[in-house]
């Protein structure tokens, strides 16, 4: 589904990702872990097409197509979804109106009829229940005045609505209390299926207790320095990232 080869990304002229390889097949959940500044979020944002993240080398293909050649909105319509680490507050844009526009943009893209207000509300009600989204959140401006937990739930709610093929979660767990973390994780787990893949970017192992990954990759100084199964996350929890920092030898190895 997603094939990344030797991806290099610069931000404001500084090379952050120095050659990342990643292969994600449908149905898989990949966790990307790493210390602060290792390039985790840069990877997520570059894949979503953020204009400040400049790809300087390598490639990324989504279902065989050149992902990097697509505009951010085309990536989204094709089925790549990024849950933002810092969801943006947009004053004056009604959340429900925004969600309907996003959903219909995707439906139009695939030649499906747009949903009318009734059909949309029905769908919303269904999805909102799972994520414990209060109906009032729909009538407020997008993310405006939302608590940290509400913002993250709103991201996952959008994901549930847009049903992407590939979802990239950028530190979705940061700032969440345990209750909110459960709600968000349930939302994600409820969407796991053989056709859908997840890339979960996180600093902490805690999230992976709830969203159990198939693979864990450790990013350090812009490169993946170690990959393994879910047990790697536990090892990191115990030992920290120090032993994996690029250029240092693993302790006891």
């Amino acid at each position: 589904m997603l094939e990344i080869k030797n991806l290099q990304v610069a931000v404001e002229g500084n090379l952050i990702l120095k050659g990342v390889d990643l292969h994600v097949k449908p149905g898989e959940v990949h966790a990307i872990m790493g210390p602060n500044g290792s390039g985790k979020s840069t990877l997520a944002r570059a894949l979503s097409g953020h204009p400040q993240y400049e790809v300087t080398g390598g490639e990324a293909r989504f279902e065989g197509r050149d992902l990097l050649d697509m505009d951010p909105d085309e990536r989204a319509r094709e089925g790549v979804f990024m849950a933002f680490q810092y969801p943006v507050e947009i004053a004056g844009v009604n959340n429900g109106y925004f969600l309907k526009a996003a959903l219909n943009a995707k439906r139009k893209h695939f030649g499906q009829p747009e949903l009318d207000a009734m059909e949309f509300m029905q769908l919303i009600r269904e999805k909102a229940k799972v994520l414990q989204i209060d109906q009032s959140m729909l009538s407020r401006s997008v993310n405006e005045g939302f608590s940290g937990g509400e913002k993250k739930r709103n991201e996952i709610f959008q994901m549930a609505l847009l049903e992407p093929k590939l979802a990239i979660l950028d530190e979705t767990d940061s700032g969440l209390d345990i209750d909110a973390l459960r709600v968000v994780s349930d939302g994600v787990n409820g969407m796991r299926n053989p056709g859908r893949a997840f890339v979960v970017v996180t600093h902490y192992q805690r999230l992976l207790d709830y969203i159990v990954p198939d693979y864990v990759h450790v990013l350090s100084a812009g490169r993946i320095v170690k990959s393994g199964g879910k047990e790697l996350a536990h090892e990191l929890e115990k030992k920290g990232y120090g032993w994996l920092e690029a250029g240092t030898q693993p302790v006891g190895a």
Binding site: S48, G49, H50, P51, D71, P72, D73, R75, A76, R77, M82, F84, P87, V88, I90, A91, G92, V93, F98, A101, A102, A105, K106, H109, S141, V142, Q158, L162
Partner: protein, 444 residues
């Protein structure tokens, strides 16, 4: 003769032809206003209040002060300017009341809505008491010009305790001149709201699209104790027209005045709103939305004079500028020594759609009381890149995302319009203009 006076010469000739009808006090006032104008002359860029707005195109032009004959318009001419549901309307054509076009069926007892010239003779106590008392024509040149030359206008009187259920629309039409110099219309409005009265007034300024004329408007609003008024001004003049207007509000104890100013048309536009909070607990809200493109210039000056204690004021002005448009926003808040517990909040934002559009903006807080809360904020710039990206990351195209953000920006002011058909009409007009501007930007 000084150079300034020489330039004013054609205007002095016009002033000599001012109206001679009406009672003695009115003629005296016109004469005093004419003298004031002769002394003041037109403001220049050396005048702080006019630093960024040059009125030279008005001062140096020749205008016909009044049409040689009454221009007759028919119902179809008004169609585009009446929002649906405006049952009560006063129509003023080139400064003169039109009985044929005005409608005010079933107004509550004692309410007057009609010709200002008629009110001067038929309702003399009220007219004499208020007319010219708020417009500061001794210090304001355009107000002086208007006071000297206006022969008629709109008059609204709402007795104590009366609630106007229906909004009242005042429609000011300036027609192009049929021949000769462009027309100047000195449009005058007097609104007297009795104690505890409640009303919604919509002033709409229009003219034939593309034609050159000069609307010089002055509105005086006297608010009684506990009176509540929602005032809307819709400026949709021809995009080649000059529009200079000032509204002067006197608010006494516990009254509540809201102004919503929509400035969409005009080539050179100046809107002044002055609110004098002259009684404890008087509250005022000044909201504004302006749109300009091409080479148009729009200047909004507001002044809230907090003269008494416990008066809240709220102000939000927003502008959207395309092409090479230029805008000015000056928001003065004066808090006098006696105005303790003042709570004044001012926000001023402008969206520049092009690199050539520009704005000069200045909050101006003058505070002489010590126990007050005054805040102001200004934000000028382009669309928020983060918000644009967020919307695109959900599948909206760049254009869809941009339009959504621009509409949201304007929506914050539009949604405060509490007359639904008017809100819809404004939204349609605004979005149509924006669509045109954005298409030009995309095509460029």
């Amino acid at each position: 003769m000084t150079q300034v006076a020489e330039k004013l010469q054609p205007w002095m000739a016009v002033l000599e032809q001012r109206g001679t009808d009406g009672p003695r006090w009115l003629q005296d006032m016109r004469a005093r206003a004419a003298t004031a104008f002769a002394e003041l002359g037109f403001p220049t860029n050396r005048d702080e209040e006019w630093r960024f707005t040059s009125v030279a195109p008005i001062a140096s032009a020749e205008f016909q002060a009044a049409p040689s004959a009454r221009v007759s318009l028919g119902e179809p001419d008004l169609a585009g300017f009446l929002y649906s549901g405006s049952e009560h309307r006063i129509v003023i054509v080139n400064g003169l009341f039109s009985a044929e076009l005005s409608r005010a069926p079933n107004l509550p007892q004692g309410v007057r809505a009609g010709s200002l010239a008629a009110a001067v003779t038929e309702h003399p106590e009220v007219a004499q008491r208020y007319l010219g008392q708020l417009a500061e024509f001794n210090t304001r040149a355009f107000s002086a010009l208007n006071t000297a030359l206006a022969v008629d206008g709109a008059y609204v009187y709402i007795p104590d305790g009366v609630i106007l259920e229906q909004p009242l629309q005042l429609l000011f039409v300036t027609t192009g001149a049929e021949s000769g110099a462009p027309l100047m219309a000195n449009v005058r409005t007097l609104i007297v709201a009795g104690d505890r009265s409640q009303s919604r007034i919509v002033e709409t300024y229009v003219g034939p699209p593309g034609s050159v004329y000069f609307t010089n408007a002055v509105t005086e609003v006297a608010m009684g104790e506990g009176a509540v008024m929602d005032h809307y001004k819709v400026q949709e003049e021809s995009q080649a027209a000059f529009h200079v207007a000032s509204m002067h509000v006197h608010a006494v104890r516990a009254s509540n005045f809201s102004s919503h100013s929509f400035s969409l048309g005009g080539r050179l536009v100046r809107n002044d709103v002055n609110a004098h909070l002259d009684g404890e607990g008087a509250e005022c809200t000044l909201n504004g939305l302006y749109l300009a493109d091409g080479e148009r210039h729009v200047d909004n000056h507001t002044e809230i004079d907090h003269a008494k204690a416990h008066c809240p004021s709220h102000e939000i002005y927003k502008g959207i500028l395309g092409g090479k448009a230029r805008a000015v926003f000056n928001g003065k808040i004066l808090v006098r020594q006696d105005a303790q517990k003042t709570d004044a909040k001012q926000t001023n934002r402008a969206l520049l759609l092009t690199a050539d559009a520009s704005i000069n903006t200045k909050p101006q807080l003058e505070i002489f009381a010590d126990d007050v809360k005054c805040t102001h904020g200004a934000a000028i710039g382009q669309l928020d890149e983060d918000a644009l990206f967020y919307l695109r990351a959900r599948g909206l195209t760049h254009f869809e995302a941009r339009d959504m953000l621009i509409h949201a920006f304007a929506g914050e002011i539009l949604e405060r319009v509490r007359i639904e058909p008017l809100r819809q009409a404004l939204e349609a007009e605004l979005y149509a203009q924006l669509a045109k501007d954005l298409a030009e930007i995309d095509g460029a």
